[in-house]
Symmetry: C2
Subunit: 331 residues, 2 copies
């Protein structure tokens, strides 16, 4: 709850009014716009994020499954990987992922940098190797020069690649949601129905896990607290990382930021709509059956969490050269 | 050869100098920046171009195979379609495609609008149907509203969808290549080596087919004039459209604009590098063996044809609703 130190002066003035004082006590914090960032790394990382040559096929980039036109997801139940393999889990949104306590549903990567190397080398996703990815980048003079400019090192390694991608991803926060404007003192930014939904979200207990700046992303919780979840997915969650049986079916609580755009829901993508997700969460996690009106109120509140989407020029990628390893989509 | 009427006043002044007068006689015309365009259709078409929900899987958009970060192609020998099917032909660049006399390698679509509906419904590409695509769009209120604003019609049909995509594609011209700056009177815009390459390109006969504003795209020619082309690809070219045996292996001459970015080359993508493409074209079409120096000169000239790449904000797509037909990637 340290967001106050980042408030702009204009907002500080609003903060002295009664309405702001009230909302400042809320268990949800507004998304902070990006403050300090390495812009050179961001620009390089943006290219890498969109570059399918980091995959074996030359067809799949980070943006294929974490599509920045679509809420930072692929909007599929589970993702499509190399050779059209069916992924084991729902692609979590990259938006606001810098706010997560760890990355992946099971938290197996400590941060964005540790995460970024995973899909490149995962045989079911981009199916390259880090060596191949580096060989591709080293064969492209414009990349070689840009890496030298940005990192002041002679050689490109996966360390600089993942660092640049992670830095770009840190820019993918989505401030200025209607709910945040309400938190910051604009009482008219949400409707009475949406506010009722928020009150119900708090009073019924959703807020226990979905709180803070990302409204989630800051704890692991068991899927199926009150009632066991009947999963079709083999994903076991945190226990795959810790080896502890007590961590079975514990998953990172997903952010609810931009949740209107990040369908379908849950780690297995089994809930197609927000209505269904709210109903199931009430039942499994809280032992509560929301009636239709209550469900609609919560869904209305959730739709106030859509923030400003990333806005940038589509990057132009430097062309391959005669020395660039050929993509192998059909091997 | 009507580009003079589009020249800006500043350029008209340059045109009175001796150096411009000379270059104005060239068989290649500079790319004209976009003049008249329906901007509302462009903005809608840009969203549709990037929207994978026009495919059955929800994973493949126009931009998947005509990637605007990569010269408007996928840089693959042949494309990847639904369920990772291997396409029969190399994806031609969408850049400057409005200048083509017809669309597709075999010219089976008269214009961009006629082309745009093809891949959506092709079972080997996006694998949707026009009905499904319309159902998806009609289920998304933001699209419904935008179509109404842009076309002033009650219903969305494939006609408006392809019209908007085509209008966006008309913006994808790439003016301001170094070669064009040279054509427009900047004598220092290309090097002596590049100019030698251009002279050779003309004197050896390449210019016979690769001429005009797009340096190609304005005729069908047989692949293998002097010497038969040993093709692995089953593509038959224009004869598939006309039914005439004389049109077998006639393909639309590809544009050489941005050719540095549109590798690999030929309708079957068999030439991986420009060096290889120049060598084979000389041999098959002109009966001429370029030596290493000549080949390098022509390649140097070809690299002066890279123009300003499309520059726009990555579009944000309106989210699906509970009524939107679900993507079916694995059916």
């Amino acid at each position: 709850m340290t967001h106050k130190q980042y408030l702009l002066p204009a907002v500080m003035v609003i903060a002295t009014t009664a309405s702001f004082s009230l909302q400042a006590k809320e268990p949800i914090d507004p998304i902070r716009p990006v403050q300090e960032i390495n812009l050179a790394q961001v620009e390089l990382g943006k290219k890498l994020y969109f570059d399918p040559r980091l995959s074996k096929s030359g067809f799949i980039s980070c943006n294929s499954c974490h599509n920045l036109s679509m809420g930072g997801t692929d909007n599929l139940k589970t993702s499509i990987g190399h050779n059209w393999q069916r992924g084991p889990i729902n692609a979590p949104t990259v938006l606001n992922s810098s706010l997560n306590l760890a990355q992946f549903w099971d938290g197996r990567a400590a941060d964005l940098k540790a995460q970024a190397g995973g899909p490149i080398a995962n045989p079911g996703e981009m199916a390259a190797t880090h060596t191949l990815a580096i060989d591709v980048l080293e064969s492209i003079p414009q990349y070689v020069t840009e890496f030298k400019q940005v990192f002041a090192k002679d050689k490109i390694t996966i360390d600089e690649v993942t660092q640049a991608i992670a830095e770009f991803e840190k820019t993918l926060v989505t401030p200025n949601a209607r709910f945040d404007r309400w938190l910051l003192g604009d009482n008219d930014a949400i409707t009475a129905k949406e506010k009722k939904g928020y009150e119900l979200f708090k009073s019924s207990g959703c807020i226990a896990c979905h709180n803070g700046e990302a409204i989630g992303g800051n704890s692991f919780q068991k899927m199926g607290v009150v009632e066991a979840y009947q999963a079709n997915s083999p994903a076991e969650g945190l226990s795959a990382v810790t080896g502890k049986d007590a961590d079975r079916f514990k998953f990172k609580v997903p952010t609810l930021r931009n949740v209107e755009m990040t369908y379908p829901y849950f780690h297995d993508g089994e809930a197609e709509t927000l209505t269904e997700a709210v109903e199931l969460m009430g039942k499994l996690q809280l032992g509560r059956k929301f009636n239709a009106e209550e469900n609609a109120q919560i869904v209305a509140f959730l739709k106030t969490l859509t923030g400003d989407q990333p806005s940038f020029q589509m990057p132009i990628l430097p062309p391959s050269t005669d020395a660039t390893p050929q993509p192998k989509p059909f091997d």
